[in-house]
Symmetry: C2
């Protein structure tokens, strides 16, 4: 798998009126109604939006802010937050009355890291690639419109201790993103661009849809993709997609190097190395 | 925060009879009934058990196995799995009809890593401690009866690329666990031992409740805890707890070294270094 289903647009979600007296009924109805058919559980959908409301910019949230961020009514938010707190996934600060996510949430992510067979398979190749290039090597996977770093071997000459596993970057302007999209049927890649926010992160970000499609086609021909300072200053990245037995993308491996010191010869050598590594991890 | 609420014991959870015709009603009733009062959402509780059913030993699960592992009826499991799949948290293998967790689950964990202020604060101290000792340094937090690694700086002479962030270890037989427990009111530490499975992981694991309580009291007096090969062969660990302004434990920092080559003088030096580092991160 690689293409996660798109989550329903928040703006189109039905909203139960706040202050409803028949909370239980409303919850039950929401469960039944869902947004994508009879089997969808509204409570679960809302709860996952609550957990996703917390991020670097909003690490501590009060009940009203949680309801607003998840686009649900306050009474639903209250029950969801109460349940998550009781189960140990949220923690309430007694003084500020604000909530934050707990270390228990980390377990949910770990299930992915510890159960994914590609990560296990890839690790020795990533280490080898790091030794060959002396640069930082990432394994990424596509999640909707983003690529997510799922494994990383840092360059020996960079001391970076930040927790980068789980870091998300937009697919449309990153080398692993373009490499992965290039292995999808073109209509599927186009749909991902349709859902993407094609905005400029740097002066060099390619935001023109046609130019991005051209980059995807070029990557399909070349077998690798490059992105130079499109998402971050001084970041050069060269990536190749890892595919399954049917040729569908499972992820990408990329070499990340400082753009300032990258020579054309490096680009040539790195693209050959990354393509070979991705081929070895494929199938 | 540090002590997560204990999750309800699976064996005591009420189980809706499989094959119930009134699925929606049962869901609604479960929502209302809950297990811990009126506000608990049964659907959410079950759903989190479904996500937790996947682990290293069971990365791929069919519907019946999911229902069994989460201790819920098959019709509930079906709706939860359907919803999680639609939202991109689970993926179904077309050939085997089995499910696995997706990279999207990683995001839930990342919310914790990217929002936790202690991790940010600790990182420079962890790096410094690694340079002073040339050993692996961990930052851990308590989650119910386990300690979980939330940040790690690897020793320069060990090449270990496995994804260890999120790794859980029992608190009762690890140095960070004992260090954290030693900063709790003794009754709270005792309750955690009550809930713990005090089994032997190695020949040297201390499993006697009284001896463990004695270790906790010693750690409270000394300001640090040690564990030598209690959880893993050749693993020596020296830890000190990080406390908040009220003296409550927020986590622990530990130095992990190979036991075979550890000298008594190292233990003395490491305990002083780790205690100083923990004090600097506290308050």
């Amino acid at each position: 798998m690689v293409v996660a289903k798109s989550t329903p647009n928040k703006a189109t979600m039905k909203k139960v009126q706040p202050g409803s007296n028949a909370k239980a009924k409303a919850e039950g109805a929401a469960d039944e109604r869902g947004t994508q058919g009879r089997l969808m559980l509204g409570t679960l959908e809302k709860s996952l939006r609550v957990l996703s409301a917390f991020d670097k910019h909003q690490p501590n949230l009060g009940l009203l802010k949680i309801a607003a961020a998840a686009n649900i009514d306050v009474s639903s938010a209250q029950r969801i937050v109460h349940t998550l707190t009781q189960l140990g996934y949220l923690d309430k600060n007694k003084d500020t009355k604000q909530y934050s996510v707990t270390v228990k949430c980390l377990s949910i992510g770990l299930h992915f890291l510890s159960t994914n067979s590609l990560i296990d398979k890839a690790n020795p190749y990533l280490v080898h690639l790091s030794q060959e290039t002396d640069e930082t090597i990432n394994l990424t996977m596509l999640d909707d419109v983003d690529v997510v770093i799922v494994a990383r071997v840092l360059s020996r000459h960079i001391l970076n201790t930040s927790a980068v596993i789980g870091t998300r970057m937009p697919a449309f302007c990153t080398a692993p993103g373009i490499a992965i999209l290039s292995k999808l049927p073109e209509a599927d890649a186009a749909k991902i661009l349709d859902r993407s926010d094609l905005r400029a992160y740097t002066k060099r970000t390619v935001t023109d849809r046609r130019q991005i499609m051209a980059k995807i086609r070029k990557a399909a021909r070349d077998g690798y993709a490059t992105a130079f300072e499109e998402f971050m200053q001084n970041d050069a990245s060269i990536a190749a997609a890892i595919v399954d037995a049917e040729g569908m993308p499972q992820g990408a491996v990329n070499i990340a190097a400082p753009y300032a010191t990258l020579k054309d010869a490096d680009t040539v050598r790195f693209s050959a190395l990354v393509t070979r590594a991705a081929a070895a991890m494929s199938g």
